[in-house]
């Protein structure tokens, strides 16, 4: 038994040492591995990764770190001595966080910026990020429910405070959910100073606040497959596309959700080179690759967003089923930072009054 104990202690000590000592050795010359810090919703195909490695010799190692906000906070904490070389997935509402102090990025924006859509160029003037994709946060409606009730499908969010739409909308808490915050900004972009009164009216009209998107969509929304009671939910303009793509075979010819396209907020996602990287040249190549046609062609299918590159191919199901938002809500760049805390506080005041 004494031997047994020695064995246990020995094994534990050895494994501990092995674990402590198992540190990665930085590659010296030759093939370089670039760490790409991304949020938990990031998807890229093995094929595109392999092609990039073949062309450039660069291995991209994807490192996920929670949701977008937490990932950016981690990058801020590690600014200057980063945990990765490139960051993807910071959006336009989180950009002020990345620019505080010395910022988390090195100055670099891809030459491909000229080929990026004009309506997703926000923040590119800072010369530290390159837009990769965008998605509009909008109210989604359950068409089956509306067909049965005979109520007209709202064309804009303006009418949601009318009595006929009482107790029909579920939104997400903007303090806890990213689409929830985007919707708060959509209302602000559309209504400005009248926003507070609109929220107050919406509250009196029985809006339901869920703590998370998955709770709102699956449990409260009538079109989420659960036993929900609300036929309208704050989600994405591309949600109907996802509904089609993930539907069981044979695929339906129509989807049951539609998008209210007036009163949306455009979330733009960017990539940038993290300040302090040991491989700035290769890191830049990774950013260029993310905005290249090969990567951009599969952005839509992978992440249910639209590619930032003008020439990227957009799959048929997107043109067929996605809501087309021609006038997305945009906040002036220098307004975002100060607006968010003020709006959150105002929203809290209205909803708890």
């Amino acid at each position: 038994m004494k031997n047994f104990l020695r064995f246990i202690v020995g094994m534990a000590a050895v494994s501990l040492l092995a674990a402590c000592g198992n540190t990665a050795t930085p590659s010296a010359g030759g093939d370089v591995t670039i760490k790409l810090l991304a949020h938990e919703s990031f998807v890229v195909s093995d094929k595109v990764l392999a092609e990039f490695k073949k062309e450039t010799g660069i291995t991209v190692e994807v490192v996920t770190a929670g949701d977008a906000g937490t990932m950016v906070a981690g990058a801020v904490l590690a600014a200057g001595n980063p945990t990765a070389d490139v960051l993807f997935g910071i959006d336009n509402t989180l950009m002020p966080n990345a620019l505080r102090g010395d910022g988390i990025f090195e100055e670099y924006s891809s030459p491909a910026l000229a080929d990026v859509r004009d309506d997703v160029q926000q923040w590119t003037e800072t010369r530290v990020v390159t837009p990769i994709d965008y998605a509009d946060v909008c109210v989604n409606v359950d068409m089956k429910w509306f067909a049965q009730s005979g109520l007209p499908v709202p064309a804009s969010i303006d009418v949601l405070t009318l009595p006929e739409y009482k107790n029909l909308l579920v939104i997400e808490d903007p303090a806890a959910s990213s689409p929830g915050l985007a919707f708060l900004l959509a209302v602000h972009a559309r209504m400005g100073a009248d926003g507070e009164a609109w929220w107050s009216a919406l509250k009196n009209n029985g809006v339901k606040v869920a703590a998370s998107w998955s709770d709102a969509y699956f449990n409260d929304f009538t079109g989420g497959g659960g036993a929900g009671k609300y036929p309208m939910v704050v989600s994405y303009a591309t949600s109907p596309v996802a509904e089609y793509v993930y539907a069981a075979e044979p695929k339906p010819t129509a989807v049951s959700t539609a998008v209210v396209t007036e009163g949306c907020f455009r979330q733009i996602e960017y990539a940038g080179v993290l300040r302090g990287t040991e491989h700035p040249a290769e890191a830049r190549k990774v950013v260029d690759w993310m905005v290249s046609k090969k990567f951009q062609d599969e952005v839509a299918t992978n992440m249910f967003v639209f590619p930032a590159l003008k020439t990227a191919t957009i799959p048929d199901e997107f043109t067929k089923f996605s809501g087309v938002v021609s006038r997305p809500g945009v906040l002036p760049t220098n307004d975002i930072e100060s607006a968010i805390p003020t709006l959150l506080e105002q929203w809290n005041r209205v909803m708890t009054s």
């Binding site: 246990i8 534990a12 994807v62 509904e243 805390p341």
Partner: protein
């Protein structure tokens, strides 16, 4: 009689055993925590602190009341459950014992969805529903700890007391209660800590009034960049949780003379208890039934399509399940080994308080711990290859308190006079120790390994930071599904959730069998 030499030997053996968990905590617990706190407090890009002491106290009070209520209810329902599951024999006992643990293992968000799906809008979101969810999840803790204490109760003492004229109540109060009380206190302190630092359940069952320090830290870090506020809340959480754990650890050890039953004697079940079993059973089968229904009802008709495609497609569930299983087994081994070494030290009353250092991971908020791991191990000087090691270490750290508590409570049931006797008969210190504690140590470690492995399968917090991108863990795969719109998402998520539960139950059951076998081995 114990000679001075032997006493010294025994103690040096225990000090040696303690050094491993202490080193583990220092290397993997304290270092990341210190790193993140240092960065939180010193970061120049942080927003100005937005909370005052009064806000923190108010939030703590609210969360504290919620946690006290949750704990009281969990113990109230958990005690009779533990009693009937541990001391009675009936058909399906093992299955129910395993089922009760599943909500504790699944990512809490998934448990939340199943509960919401079941209850619908019968109970509005808010404190009431949160309490219900917490009770549902944490009964498992009470059943595990109190059940284990009850199983070691020698029922003959009770029978004797009653034959001598004591009433049923008196015999339980004088004989049963002293034995199970420490287990109840220990379980209650753990449940309090889990409810006080709850996060995932609140995202589905709560409203804006049911906040915790955890949810506040997450908001401050990820949305507001209020790092000092996050640090303040982290410290406040450490204080409250530390106090709860300290109170939980103060409870006296049971008097060993009362225990010692090697294999529990089980009573036939009466009619009243049968009804109770049916109710508890239904309560735990219902969420499964709901998940199952989600996974096989496609557009209102029955279909196994989601099951077939999930298990056979390219990025198939099978590959992810196998990887998760391996990962979970590693976590089980590491956590139970480190936990067992701390538990060996805990048999020496002077070392016991030091051994409790392994409970420290419960003090940290998960957001700070996740960031700490990221900051410490994703860059020089301790940069790790992100294959498997960091996740195994992080999850082991998270489950270490459970491993330790499981093994310690099993060992506390031992009569340590055996050790003295063995030593007086000339056995060496370690030999004497193993004569007295060996079987319970090994059986406790195996039981802890199963529990930890099962928890690791469904653990999401650390996995969302450290999981391998190409083949995620089951929990990460599951949560990715829940982020996708469309009616199919919940169906596929349900397939994964049921698969995950089944795997966790197999791990749990397998190790439990080994544990029981280890306890029965006669040397």
């Amino acid at each position: 009689m114990e000679s001075g030499d032997d006493k010294l030997n025994a103690q040096s053996m225990k000090v040696g055993a303690l050094s491993v968990p202490l080193a583990f905590m220092l290397c993997f617990g304290l270092y990341p925590l210190a790193t993140v706190i240092w960065q939180l407090l010193g970061n120049s890009a942080a927003a100005p602190m937005m909370v005052g002491a009064r806000d923190i106290a108010a939030l703590g009070l609210g969360a504290g009341i919620q946690a006290v209520l949750s704990t009281a209810l969990a113990v109230a329902v958990g005690l009779p459950s533990a009693y009937v599951l541990s001391l009675h024999s009936f058909r399906g006992r093992r299955l129910l014992f395993a089922l009760v643990i599943v909500p504790f293992i699944l990512p809490t968000v998934v448990t939340g969805h199943a509960l919401r799906g079941l209850i619908g809008s019968a109970v509005p979101q808010g404190l009431g529903l949160v309490l219900l969810g917490h009770v549902f999840v944490n009964i498992a803790v009470v059943v595990r700890f109190v059940g284990s204490a009850l199983e070691s109760l020698d029922l003959r003492y009770l029978t004797q007391a009653r034959s001598l004229g004591a009433s049923r109540a008196t015999s339980w109060l004088t004989i049963g209660w002293p034995l199970v009380r420490p287990a109840i206190v220990r379980a209650a302190s753990l449940v309090f800590v889990y409810c006080f630092s709850s996060l995932g359940l609140l995202l589905v069952l709560g409203d804006r009034s049911t906040r915790t320090f955890e949810s506040e830290v997450l908001r401050e870090v990820s949305l507001l960049l209020d790092f000092r506020g996050a640090a303040a809340h982290t410290f406040a959480q450490m204080l409250v949780v530390g106090a709860a754990l300290w109170l939980g650890g103060r409870s006296r050890l049971p008097s060993a003379a009362m225990s010692g039953a090697e294999s529990p004697t089980r009573l036939p079940i009466g009619r009243g208890w049968s009804a109770f079993v049916v109710v508890v059973g239904a309560m735990y089968v219902a969420p499964f039934a709901w998940l199952l229904e989600q996974s096989i009802a496609v557009d209102g008709r029955f279909s196994v399509d989601y099951w077939v495609t999930s298990w056979t497609s390219d990025s198939s569930l099978a590959a992810i399940a196998i990887k998760s299983l391996g990962l979970a087994a590693c976590v089980g081994v590491v956590a139970s080994t480190v936990g067992a070494l701390a538990a060996i030290a805990a048999t020496d009353m002077r070392l016991r308080k030091w051994s409790r250092v392994v409970l420290a991971p419960m003090l940290f908020t998960s957001a700070t711990m996740g960031l700490g791991m990221l900051l410490s191990y994703s860059r020089a000087p301790l940069e790790w290859d992100r294959a498997l090691v960091p996740l195994v270490v992080a999850q082991s750290l998270l489950v270490l308190p459970i491993a330790y508590a499981t093994i310690v409570s099993r060992m506390d049931e031992t009569d340590d006079s055996m050790q003295v006797v063995a030593q007086s008969l000339g056995a060496s210190a370690s030999r004497a120790f193993f004569t007295a504690y060996g079987r319970r140590l090994i059986s406790g470690a195996l039981s802890a390994a199963g529990l930890c492995a099962a928890i690791a399968c469904g653990e999401y917090g650390a996995a969302s930071f450290l999981s391998d991108f190409q083949t995620p863990t089951l929990s990460v795969f599951l949560m990715r599904q829940l982020g996708r719109p469309g009616e199919a998402s919940m169906a596929i998520a349900s397939v994964i959730a049921i698969s995950l539960s089944a795997i966790a139950m197999l791990l749990l059951g397998g190790f439990e069998r080994l544990s029981k076998a280890a306890q029965k081995v006669r040397r």
